[in-house]
Symmetry: C2
Subunit: 346 residues, 2 copies
């Protein structure tokens, strides 16, 4: 897993500065495009050009099963993970519709489903058939963790080979808000009460149950939760590990990353704890409706683009934000300058 620590370059400040100067020449009051200006200036640094473009968007959704589902932590049965993976391959899920709308390349990867599915459009890249119940045992062994991180790296390798200009990662896995919340609590030394939410739609009582399970798991594994990778291994989520691997490798490859909601943000947090310079390559798409997301975004000092009370996962919130990034580029590249439009300011 040494590659995780390979160096990450910073975006180029020279091109960011040229883009900032170009923004000042455009026929509008300075700063009047708000965050759209910040986006394109950041992208200019990442793409090393005054005129960044986002035509080729790559969407990878990682799917895996969770042993913790035996503890009744979700409003949906575990089988829904596999059912939804089939739905992804058939184009019926939210992220499919959205990816089509923005003309993105979409792929779904089995990084740890409990079943082996024979679906032509499904990429299978796994070592485990679902994680262990982390209430009793580590969610993954070290080989499973390494494989999942590499599955994320492999997705980015495919994205880079197609000259993608933005990487969007998503996840599917019934039970994975429990896993992700446990990871966030361990990383931030935070009380599960603060970060545990309703996931796909738990009742108040069921949220209490989920909170207590997370507390128990943190207590049981406390001696083994000393590094971000140990936390990831013990509290699991192969799809969360795949996102961590993807985010780190994308940053190493200087491929901008758009972070989705609650679980993706926790994967981003793990990635930052492993290799802090990744954060320079991240955009945050949205504030989700899941309790705890705002807390984690604030920890990361992240200002997401959208706040639409979405809480679906599967990269959906991130894909919804893509047109904003594309419009930021179009405005920057296609607007007339004051000079071109012959506008006299005095």
């Amino acid at each position: 897993m040494e590659w995780l620590y390979d160096p990450i370059e910073n975006p180029d400040v020279h091109f960011a500065s040229l883009a900032r100067q170009h923004q000042k020449k455009l026929s509008k009051p300075q700063g009047s495009l708000g965050q759209l200006e910040d986006i394109v200036i950041a992208l200019a640094g990442m793409q090393k050009t005054i005129h960044p473009v986002l035509n080729r968007i790559w969407v990878s959704v990682f799917a895996a099963d969770h042993g913790i589902t035996t503890e009744n932590v979700s409003a949906f049965p575990q089988t829904v993970t596999v059912d939804m993976v089939r739905n992804f391959t058939e184009g019926g899920a939210a992220v499919n519709v959205l990816s089509k709308f923005i003309h993105a390349h979409f792929e779904v990867i089995d990084v740890g489903l409990s079943q082996t599915l024979d679906l032509p459009k499904l990429i299978v890249d796994k070592l485990s058939q679902g994680t262990a119940n982390f209430l009793n045992r580590p969610a993954m062994n070290i080989d499973q963790l390494e494989h999942a991180l590499n599955a994320g790296k492999n997705a980015v390798t495919r994205a880079v080979s197609k000259k993608s200009q933005l990487f969007v990662g998503g996840e599917m896995g019934i039970g994975n808000t429990t896993s992700a919340t446990a990871i966030a609590c361990a990383l931030l030394n935070q009380n599960p009460k603060v970060l545990t939410g309703s996931g796909t739609g738990l009742t108040e009582e069921a949220i209490k149950h989920k909170t207590n399970l997370i507390k128990q798991a943190l207590l049981k594994h406390r001696k083994n939760l000393t590094t971000p990778l140990e936390i990831l291994q013990f509290l699991g989520g192969a799809e969360i590990a795949a996102l961590v691997g993807a985010y780190i490798f994308a940053s190493q490859k200087q491929l901008p990353v758009l972070i989705d909601g609650f679980i993706a943000t926790i994967a981003a947090l793990v990635a930052i704890k492993v290799n802090p310079k990744v954060r320079r390559w991240f955009f945050y798409a949205h504030q989700s409706g899941e309790q705890g997301h705002q807390f984690i975004l604030e920890e990361l000092n992240a200002k997401p683009l959208l706040d639409l009370s979405m809480r679906l996962g599967e990269a959906s919130g991130a894909v919804v934000a893509v047109p904003l990034l594309q419009m930021a580029c179009k405005l920057h590249n296609e607007m007339a300058t004051f000079e071109q439009a012959q506008i006299k300011l005095k």
Copy 2:
């Protein structure tokens, strides 16, 4: 101006209800698309169909000059209004780039420029060559007000004739945040200190000057500011009046309206005070960076879709929000149901 008070139908609750039921069948946790669900349910009621679509978007930008600019209320000289109108007709402004991105029909209408421009793409529909300085006199006479309201109606007539599915109005007029702020203060009986902001980029000192001018104008005209239309006439903005007329007529024609930023929201407020049922046909695109906008949105109990610190006007913030409305429709119409995807929830 009797047409302003013509009846406005409510969106159809039956179709809204059918759309709400359809949302519950889609392969996602209930409510997990957040505001995107609310949007499409509202649109279903407006379009009287379970499956609303937003393929044909109409963008009208109304431009006019303001006598109040002689009092130095803007960071830009008055001539910029005309220069920007030329820029709109040449496709170089922000709203042009954005309208092209969403494949909208775009038009710009002179409803009160101080010059007569000979530009093939410019629609001219005016009775005044700029408003009077409302510090001394009423901004418009009654005929000028009526003409400007009708210019908005005429734009909607064109939009309806092309079977547009969403009306987006915008404005251009150096000095018009001063006019709009004065109107809002009069309508809401609010202190100008609360609502006056930097417009295109005033210094703190210049904002104080602007605030004082608004106070003086409100004092001078106080006896004539008793109805929303008097307020509109005396404090002016032919482009603001055109937006008011457009919003009211669009609602009468059952054409959904997407409200832009600060000035457009104040026009929406005037429209609501004139004919309250218009509000059922409005979506609010964004919270702008202009001080006072949040206050007015809260008065309207409006929850805008975006908060990107944009403060450009010319319908730009609204057009940026259009893909969100379109994605809401696509998700609703193209996602598989749980049944279609054969997903078992028990």
